[in-house]
């Protein structure tokens, strides 16, 4: 263990800035012009502080060692000097003015969000990020992908433990990208150190930021504003690709989205809905309601055995709360977050998993209808579906 640490220390010394060594002690230089400017400001002000510190502490420790009673030091009587006071008021003031000039320049640059070539809306949710490529019709959620077993120390941790997601934000290099940052519930903060962007995501506000990445690569960050229980578990991963690769990726995403939409028209069986529902549940719902449906009352109610998820006349209410959320609670509106298929699947799963065993299923078509009318009604066609009976899991 000790040896491993020593080796990683050596590795840390050998690799230059931006490395992810375990003994990293400084800010990353990053991969944009702005991030390098900020790094420069950071190093300048730190150096100034270090020099002032050396002088002040130098005098102080000189006194501490020389002017001791035990060394026969006799106290002097001076205790006032207007000149000295003026000098040590003015010199720091001048240093600050000199420091303020480059800081102001960098800040003005950071605030210039004009002429962006790509616009991306970032929305913070408890506890995930949504990325929308404005004008492209591409939108997806980015969730932590580190398995729970690693967090619970049952399995060994990945190198990118807690800094990995199921779907990264993909950006082109060499283009000015503008971010519009907001939140759907509480305040979050979107932070990627390599881009030197930290912008609070605030419900009801849209904050702007921009970047222009020089180097292709994968850059990792985390939510920087306390946003509740799983604040530590909503990382950000940015993949910067060349322009051609980025266009190709965007094209693939668009095709994938249209294939998703076709799934709504398919006739779904109970088993299919349950299988998909379990996936959706574990990805989206389990953070609060727990994988076993027991929740964490009273903040996050249990679904297992709850009236809403078990009583036949409550299906409508169940659909309603998943679609629209519950005001004044952490229960979000999922109508815009999940596809009709996913919503139907997850409600079906919640009504049949963990011994809820209602045998009821909700179909994607019913959700589509609900979206149109705002009222949940059973689709008469689904009564005839064959495997309704084997619902009890």
């Amino acid at each position: 263990m000790q040896q491993a640490k020593f080796l990683s220390l050596l590795a840390g010394l050998a690799v230059t800035g931006g490395s992810r060594a375990a003994w990293e002690v400084n800010m990353t230089e990053g991969v944009t012009a702005v991030s390098r400017n900020i790094y420069g400001l950071h190093m300048t002000i730190m150096t100034i502080c270090a020099v002032i510190g050396l002088v002040v502490f130098g005098v102080m420790f000189y006194s501490i060692f020389k002017h001791r009673k035990s060394k026969g030091a006799v106290p002097q009587q001076f205790h006032e000097s207007t000149l000295v006071e003026i000098v040590w008021t003015s010199i720091p003031f001048l240093i600050l003015v000199l420091m303020a000039i480059p800081a102001t320049k960098t800040l003005v640059d950071i605030y210039n969000t004009d002429e962006a070539e790509v616009d991306i809306k970032i929305t913070g949710y408890q506890w995930k990020w949504q990325y929308e490529y404005l004008g492209e019709g591409v939108s997806f959620f980015s969730n932590l992908s580190t398995p729970t077993e690693q967090i619970q120390n049952v399995r060994n941790k990945n190198p990118n433990y807690l800094l990995e997601v199921d779907e990264p934000l993909v950006l082109p290099v060499g283009k000015k990208v503008r971010f519009l940052v907001t939140a759907a519930d509480v305040i979050h903060s979107w932070w990627v150190p390599a881009l030197a962007i930290k912008r609070d995501a605030i419900p009801g506000f849209i904050n702007e930021a921009w970047t222009n990445i020089d180097v292709p690569g994968t850059y990792r960050g985390q939510c920087a504003e306390l946003c509740g229980k799983n604040h530590a578990y909503m990382p950000i991963v940015v993949e910067a690709k060349s322009e051609e690769e980025f266009e190709q990726w965007l094209q693939d995403k668009k095709e994938q989205a249209s294939r998703e939409r076709e799934l709504t028209d398919k006739v779904w069986s109970m088993d299919e809905l349950m299988a998909r529902g379990e996936q959706v549940y574990n990805k989206v719902c389990a953070v609060c309601h727990q994988p076993n449906g027991a929740g964490m009352p009273p903040i996050f109610p249990a679904l297992k055995g709850s009236p809403m998820a078990t009583e036949a006349n409550q299906v409508g209410a169940h659909v309603d709360i998943v679609m629209n959320g519950k005001k004044g609670s952490a229960m979000q509106s999922f109508a815009g977050q999940l596809s009709e298929v996913d919503i139907a699947a997850v409600i079906t799963y919640e009504r049949n998993a963990w011994g809820n065993n209602t045998g009821e299923m909700v179909t994607p078509k019913e959700i589509v209808e609900y979206k149109k009318t705002g009222v949940y009604e059973e689709d008469p066609a689904r009564q005839t579906m064959p495997d309704n009976q084997q619902a009890s899991l």
Binding site: R20, I45, H67, A103, G204, E225, H231, Y233, I299
Partner: protein, 533 residues
């Protein structure tokens, strides 16, 4: 400054004491209006809260010892970080300074007691009830406050636990206690100074507390307003901070930090006063630049009202706002620098000895200055985009609060303990206490600069692997610092129970009226005002 007194004064007071000694039994403490009794109660309360908040810090450091979740769940971890902050700010640091003010200000200005002794009693007795209410939330359904000591809306309103209402009332009570304490201190200093004790002759501790008390009166009502608006949002359907109802979550932060930034100085200005008494005493040399110290303190207090939004550089303020708050914040470095230069110059060509009060004060100057440097770095708005809400900030404010506020309180305790108890404390043990605290504190908080710069956000129970090594070191340092404080308790109790008899003035170079009365200070001092030349 003021030189003192004839020995007749001392015997006079002693004779007087026989007639008006403290009452017997428990009711002495419940009903007391004596500034020394109330000061002692404040200090004991503060120490109890220091251990409570410290225990929470130990839980935090234990969980952060390694990546992964080992000891607590994230929901409970958030309650620990929140309560640690609230208890240390409102329970430990602020009451400790009020306790020192109660004990020392009347004795320093030659007053018989505080100006409003009954209100003084009430100010104190609100505190234990407020603290019990706050801590009881941990045992309520849904747990205690879990939204950070800054309780940003809407996490604390729409998304807060049911116990938030108790938290709000606890804050109200703590605020009322602070405001009454502040009024009392101002009234005492302005009205009860002995003849000849002009403002510019007052010890700096009195000056810094006078300014602190004005800060308290200015900002505690703002905090009360903020939590009242939260209460309305939670229970009465208003939308002060709810964007969905036309409110503004950023407004909450503006209000909070308009309180919060002066609050930061409330926790440091009295420390400035303490070290400005101790350093001259142990350098056997007058404080350098008394007048400039007074003006620097006043400037810092004034600027503290103009810099609140530097806690909010990332909320998306307009450029002009960012620039204003950046410049104003940088400006604070000037008067703060003046203070540090004055202390160093006071030491220069003195004749120093390093008893425990001086050790803590010297460490204060060095480590507080390091905290000041990181504060200056944080003031640079573009760089703050990288520092904000990381462990760099945690390192920064612990460097100004632990060696700033806490070390100054330790220094003050050792400095005046002989006056309070009539016994000298055990100097050897006190030095052990100092060195273990010093090493523990630096081991805990210095590595936090590194992990913060390397990208570790604050307020997380679990972290990426590259932060593991420094977190382990921080935790070990934290445990060292934490356990060392039991030694402090032992030293105090030992000193109360006995020890070498303390003379009226146990420190060769000490100045001030408090050293003109016998040790221990009689129950009533300065019933007739002393002559201040």
């Amino acid at each position: 400054m003021s030189t003192v007194t004839d020995s007749a004064e001392g015997t006079d007071v002693k004779a007087h004491e026989d007639h008006h000694g403290p009452a017997k039994g428990l009711m002495r403490w419940v009903l007391t209006t004596n500034h020394k009794d109330i000061g002692s109660m404040y200090l004991w309360f503060s120490f109890a809260m220091f251990l409570t908040g410290g225990a929470m810090a130990m839980i935090i450091r234990a969980e952060l010892f390694q990546p992964g979740l080992q000891i607590v769940e994230p929901a409970f971890f958030n309650q620990m970080t929140t309560m640690h902050g609230l208890i240390m700010v409102f329970g430990a640091v602020m009451p400790a300074f009020v306790g020192l003010a109660n004990w020392m200000i009347p004795m320093m200005i030659g007053a018989p007691d505080m100006a409003m002794p009954r209100m003084n009693n009430w100010s104190f007795w609100i505190l234990p009830f407020a603290a019990v209410m706050l801590i009881s939330t941990l045992f309520m359904e849904g747990g205690g406050p879990n939204f950070g000591w800054t309780f940003y809306a809407p996490l604390s309103t729409d998304y807060g636990p049911p116990s938030t209402t108790f938290f709000i009332f606890a804050i109200h009570m703590l605020g009322i206690s602070s405001i009454m304490g502040a009024i009392n201190i101002i009234a005492t200093i302005l009205n009860l100074r002995a003849p000849g004790m002009t403002m510019m002759k007052m010890p700096l501790f009195v000056w810094t507390w006078l300014i602190t008390a004005y800060l308290l009166i200015a900002v505690m009502p703002v905090l009360a307003g903020a939590v009242t608006m939260m209460l309305m949002d939670i229970h009465f359907g208003t939308s002060f901070f709810n964007a969905g109802g036309g409110g503004d979550p950023v407004l909450f932060q503006h209000i909070f930090w308009f309180f919060g930034h002066p609050e930061v100085y409330i926790m440091i200005l009295p420390s400035f006063g303490i070290v400005s008494a101790i350093i001259p005493a142990f350098a056997r040399k007058h404080l350098f630049g008394y007048t400039s110290m007074v003006y620097a303190t006043a400037s810092i207090a004034f600027l503290s009202f103009l810099v609140w939004a530097h806690h909010m550089f990332t909320v998306g303020m307009p450029l002009i706002g960012e620039l204003f708050f950046m410049y104003a914040t940088m400006l604070i470095a000037v008067p703060t620098g003046v203070k540090v230069f004055n202390w160093v110059t006071t030491m220069f060509r003195g004749s120093m000895t390093f008893e425990a009060p001086m050790l803590f004060s010297t460490a204060f100057v060095v480590l507080f200055t390091i905290g000041g440097f990181s504060g200056l770095m944080l003031s640079i708005a573009p760089a703050d985009f990288q520092y904000h809400d990381t462990y760099f900030v945690v390192a920064h404010f612990h460097y100004v609060l632990v060696p700033g506020a806490i070390f100054a309180i330790f220094a003050a305790t050792y400095y005046w303990l002989p006056k309070w108890t009539g016994h000298m404390y055990d100097e050897t043990l006190a030095k052990v206490h100092f060195w273990m605290s010093f090493i523990g504190m630096n081991l805990t908080f210095f590595p936090m600069h590194f992990v913060g710069l390397a990208g570790m956000p604050r307020r997380i129970p679990d972290y990426a692997l590259q932060f593991a090594n420094f977190n382990e070191i921080s935790s070990i340092g934290g445990f060292l610092f934490g356990t060392t404080q039991f030694l402090f308790l032992f030293i105090i109790i030992k000193c109360i129970r006995g020890g070498e008899k303390a003379p009226a003035k146990p420190w060769e170079g000490a100045e001030g009226l408090e050293w003109s009365v016998p040790s221990p200070a009689p129950y009533h001092t300065f019933t007739t005002p002393p002559d201040v030349k």
